[in-house]
Subunit: 344 residues, 2 copies
């Protein structure tokens, strides 16, 4: 049972949308009383999820035999909306385990942890980092492995989806590739990873390095990006992840409809060319990675609009562009040839 209570939408419930996209068989139902009251189906809100019931209460959802309540949002600051506390407590009382990617640790919340203990259910805080994370040691440099990092013009713009789609395409082509989750939603989908925004700031680069080092036998890693390198609130996480994971190639994720930084609308997004130049300059002192492709999130556009957006991005950047959801990830895959060729 995925909880989105009042927030169901492609951007407002990113975690829910991504889980529904990549784990539909594991989704029993979506709990959102506001959305359920409209009588419209799930797909009318997020474009996917056909056949998955939308319910208005924990009680109604139990009919679909869920085993866990999954908190389907990741709001600014990571706090749990007050109104949701009651729902989480109802789910615990109904015997559901709870999976959460919030900064607000459910296990550290006396009311939740006591209720869970009494009912014998687990509270899984996926954002709590594993032990052993420290400063970066520069141990990736000599690995033969190839690493691809997805960077973005903003938060919440499609970086994780692109990373997953490219990883799938790489594996489909026979590459020994792995998607590396660096945020709570990615971790829920991949089943492993580190929420790099939830480690001690001195250890962000080190956490990114550790993620890659632990997977050093993989031929290719596709690393989920976070935030943007000029984000007013999250640039620390972005840059630490980018430097710490030492990628060989970058893909720039953008949504053509996004004109300014989300929630910080005073700041217009710079032209794609400037973002690319800045990203390449930022990694240059450490390694020579280039942006090799542009991935677009064209959600909500018509096919014609999306095609025009792709053409515009290609013209602006002189790089191949596509929406991996709408057009498939083939173009992104082909763009990686220069860094993958070495093993042929």
């Amino acid at each position: 049972m995925i909880l989105t209570e009042g927030k169901l939408g492609i951007f407002s419930s990113k975690t829910a949308t991504s889980l529904i996209r990549y784990c539909p068989e594991e989704t029993a139902c979506v709990l959102d009383s506001k959305a359920a009251r409209t009588g419209k189906p799930l797909e009318s809100f997020i474009g996917i999820g056909q056949g998955i019931p939308l319910v208005r209460s924990v009680k109604a959802g139990l009919a679909f035999k869920p085993t866990e309540l999954l908190i389907g949002i990741s709001p600014v600051g990571g706090e749990l909306p007050q109104a949701w506390r009651k729902i989480v407590l109802q789910a615990i009382a109904a015997g559901l385990h709870v999976v959460s990617g919030l900064h607000h640790e459910l296990n550290a919340d006396p009311e939740f942890s006591s209720a869970a203990r009494k009912r014998g259910v687990r509270l899984h805080d996926v954002r709590v980092p594993p032990p052993g994370i420290g400063v970066a040691l520069d141990c990736l440099r000599k690995l033969k492995q190839r690493r691809i990092a997805i960077i973005g013009t903003d938060c919440n713009i499609g970086k994780m989806v692109t990373a997953i789609e490219l990883d799938r395409a790489l594996r489909h082509e026979g590459h020994d590739s792995e998607f590396v989750a660096t945020g709570q939603t990615g971790i829920m989908i991949a089943g492993s990873g580190i929420a790099v925004d939830h480690v001690l700031s001195d250890y962000v680069n080190g956490a990114a390095e550790l993620l890659c080092w632990q997977r050093r036998k993989r031929e290719v890693l596709v690393i989920e990006g976070q935030g943007s390198i000029f984000h007013p609130a999250y640039s620390a996480v972005t840059v630490g992840l980018l430097h710490g994971s030492m990628p060989h190639a970058l893909i720039l994720q953008h949504a053509p409809a996004r004109k300014s930084i989300r929630y910080y609308e005073t700041y217009p997004l710079p032209p794609l060319k400037e973002v690319i130049a800045l990203a390449e300059a930022l990694v240059k002192p450490l390694y020579p990675a280039k942006v090799l492709a542009v991935a677009l999130n064209t959600f909500g556009m018509s096919d014609a609009q999306a095609a025009r957006a792709v053409q515009a991005a290609e013209r602006q950047t002189a790089l191949p562009a596509c929406d991996p959801i709408r057009h498939g990830a083939k173009k992104l895959l082909d763009a990686m040839t220069p860094i993958l060729k070495h093993r042929k």
Copy 2:
């Protein structure tokens, strides 16, 4: 009593050196058995501290009536060297409070906290952040206040000293200025601040913003920098601090003798001009700050060598340069005129 045990030196015991420079009257003695055994005076190791005794044991140091033991190093990773544990326990047993800027929290260490409780002394972990730190909210933009940030080509290169010297020079000229400490040593000197490398990574920008917001009535803030924007391990902290504090002007700190990133010698430092261009490009999407001056750490050079280093930096960057310790901070102060003029 400042502990440097075996690490006494301008770079290896940065915390000790800075405290001795800015709080000499509060320094009873320096504890370093290795240095004390040489029979040489303190100033022969760090260039300052004339008249401050160098002792070889806690017991010997007690003769100079210290009230606190201050851990005078900040090693990579912030852990306490094993050999120092015994010394800290001896100091606690002797009734000294302990001040530490290590990641390793003394209060969270059962052996230390139990010993301190028994003896009735305080363990002050200055790196533990105050409550109330969250994501950046973009609340500085409309303040009339002027903020100057010191950035550097590397860690441990003199950024804090330059910030303190410029703040002093500003106050000497009648400006209502404050030095904003962002690391453990700065906090020990200033008596307040936040160790931005010790907050949750999602909150680095927010911690930097909070530091400035709390001081919003000050006319000028001079903000201590951390790391470098291309540091393999610490770039997350650096960039978050730089974006979160939204400075109006930048000063680039460099040490001419430094040719590569300290402890990561594979990576040569880029030319100053490239560092300046990168820093300005990185802040440009959020605010239009420029690097207005270069501060040099010429420690260990002759006056003639230092003069040549200044000339070289000025030629390379077309900016005024000086070593604020050797030459005074006048040149840096003058370089700030464009951003301070608005109140005249």
